[in-house]
């Protein structure tokens, strides 16, 4: 057990360093940030001084190690654009992104799990068909388009909800609904098929034969066993969810790290792009570590593996 956890921790760490390295190399290939910082007609000495001040004149591996050791201490550099610490910029906005992603995930789970269960229990009925048609449609709809259409309908036409910005709970509705479709359809179908698989098993029949109520059979026996593929997919879909948040945030002007990253890409503000990508990826890696450890709780057989 301890070995398993330690091994997972080690691979998590190497992946995190790998992500940092990939982003670092990519963004250094993307152009000279100094050219963007100084006036176009700046003399070469100014260019050289700026480069030196930012440490951009050192060899790449050295720059990377400096970056990495500082990042480990919570210093992600300074934004070239805002002239503020990247860590501070991210800290200010990250809660909003997490709020958005969490709301979307919660919404997806609250809808997908009951919908999947009902579909599985009422297989072949109209309810099942309808739920699955909606799930398939949800998987195919591009979220940014859905977001625009929702804005048009609820904010422009009906004027029920605010279009942009954040602040109240109402501002959260449209972005969360749009973002949730990224996982909703897939999740509902997965819950349905995992439940179908489990419902045919002997232990479910035994539970029924024992005279257990349907609620207890479904939630206690079946869902618990169907949970492993569901938890896996939720863990993996987190990357989609966090990536989708970038797009959703730009559409709704939701002031999270997504908007920060999108602006930074345009401005070639690479400490920011680097910082956001690193932090988001770390969240994903840590979440998957948690998922891995959750398996152990869900399925004692894995403990030995």
């Amino acid at each position: 057990m301890l070995v398993h956890v330690l091994r997972r921790l080690w691979s998590t760490l190497t992946v995190a360093v790998g992500v940092a390295a990939v982003i670092f190399v990519l963004l250094h290939l993307s152009g000279d940030p100094v050219a963007l910082l100084v006036p176009a007609d700046a003399p070469p000495e100014v260019m050289r001084d700026t480069r030196q001040a930012l440490g951009l004149d050192r060899p790449l591996p050295q720059q990377f190690f400096i970056y990495l050791s500082r990042a480990a201490a919570g210093d992600l550099g300074t934004s070239l654009r805002h002239n503020l610490p990247v860590a501070q910029l991210i800290r200010e906005r990250l809660p909003r992104t997490i709020l958005l992603a969490a709301a979307a995930l919660a919404l997806a789970l609250v809808i997908a799990i009951p919908a999947g269960i009902v579909s599985a229990l009422r297989r072949g009925t109209l309810v099942d068909r309808l739920a699955m048609v909606l799930a398939v449609a949800g998987q195919a709809v591009p979220i940014f388009w859905l977001a625009l259409m929702l804005i048009w309908l609820f904010a422009v036409r009906l004027e029920w909800l605010p279009v942009f910005g954040s602040g109240t709970l109402l501002h959260l509705v449209l972005p969360a609904v749009s973002l949730s479709t990224i996982v909703l359809g897939r999740l509902a179908r997965l819950v349905r098929s995992s439940m179908l698989e489990v419902l045919g098993q002997d232990y479910v029949r035994t539970a029924r034969a024992k005279g257990l109520g349907e609620t207890s059979v479904v939630w206690g026996h079946a869902l618990k066993n169907a949970a492993i593929p569901i938890v896996t997919v939720v863990g993996l879909q987190l990357a989609q969810l966090l990536g989708g948040a970038v797009v959703t945030e730009t559409i709704f002007a939701w002031p999270g790290v997504g908007v920060l990253a999108a602006e930074a890409v345009f401005n070639r503000d690479f400490p920011v792009v680097q910082g956001v990508t690193l932090v988001i990826s770390l969240i994903f890696v840590v979440a998957n570590l948690a998922v891995d450890l959750a398996y152990v709780a869900l399925n004692p057989r894995i403990r030995l593996g």
Partner: protein, 279 residues
């Protein structure tokens, strides 16, 4: 072997896809206008059924360009980019997965760690970073999409290969004197191809969406290139007054991806039902 019965949803999906591809290919003959042809006197005209005229069936945009024509021409680039991206990323991922699963050891560890690293970076962010490096352009977009897409095949094929590696037919072929490369490509590969094809089918849909997302954010194709994504990007400013500029290209993506997914579903059921919970 009995042929699987063709489901109505598959038939529908096939018809829709064939129509979309045909219309895109024949845009030169079908489209009422050139995609970038401007008519300043007819700006922001509504679609025919919403009070417009039949000469502009789906209305016009802010520069008086015909939405239907742009939709048809845009489909060309969107579909071509999606297909090309899959055509590059699928073989790449399959070879990586095959090598990883077949050789094992440090090759496997290295390749899978690289895969893990890439999977940890959200696709959109990776694509954004890559676009910053390569710059905009249709070819660059194909490269970006291909780079973001190979990991899923690598993971899948590695798993399949691992399961096959110890099987008797592989041993038998080796005993018969076949070289490792030959075993890998002639004997293992054919057995792992069908799950990869299933995944590739779904991937065409996700690539179309990813292209649209990047072009929508303004970092995909250059402005003059018409794709469904760039149409959406142009139309979002006029959402309040002219919904049709945004509604139709999105609908086109939606319907296309829906048809591709339906096709993928049925291919999975026919070729490899075990994948049901994985893709």
């Amino acid at each position: 072997m009995r042929r699987p019965r063709v489901r109505p949803s598959v038939l529908g999906a096939g018809v829709v896809l064939a129509a979309v591809v045909l219309l895109a290919v024949c845009a030169d003959w079908v489209a009422p206008a050139r995609p970038n042809e401007q008519d300043i006197t007819a700006r922001l005209r509504p679609p025919a059924l919403a009070g417009g005229t039949w000469s502009r069936p789906l209305g016009t945009d802010e520069l008086g360009r015909d939405v239907l024509s742009r939709l048809l021409y845009g489909g060309r680039v969107s579909l071509a980019v999606g297909l090309l991206a899959v055509a590059v990323s699928c073989p790449l991922g399959v070879v990586v997965g095959l090598a990883s699963g077949f050789f094992g050891g440090w090759i496997d560890r290295t390749l899978m760690r690289v895969t893990d690293i890439q999977l940890a970076i959200p696709t959109i962010l990776l694509a954004m970073a890559l676009v910053t490096v390569l710059g905009p352009g249709v070819l660059n977009l194909v490269i970006v999409l291909s780079v973001t897409g190979w990991t899923i095949y690598a993971r899948l094929v590695r798993g399949e290969t691992l399961a096959l590696r110890g099987r008797e037919f592989v041993e038998a072929t080796r005993a018969a004197g076949a070289g490792e490369t030959r075993i890998m490509f002639r004997h293992v590969l054919p057995n792992v191809v069908s799950p990869a094809i299933v995944v590739a089918t779904f991937a065409v849909g996700s690539m179309v969406v990813l292209e649209a997302t990047l072009s929508f954010l303004g970092i995909g194709v250059p402005l003059r290139v018409v794709t469904w994504g760039s149409m959406l990007n142009g139309g979002r400013t006029y959402l309040k007054s002219a919904w049709w500029i945004t509604a139709f290209p999105g609908l086109a993506i939606f319907v296309t991806v829906l048809a591709i997914n339906a096709l993928g579903d049925s291919m999975r059921d026919a070729l490899d039902p075990r994948l049901r919970n994985r893709v």
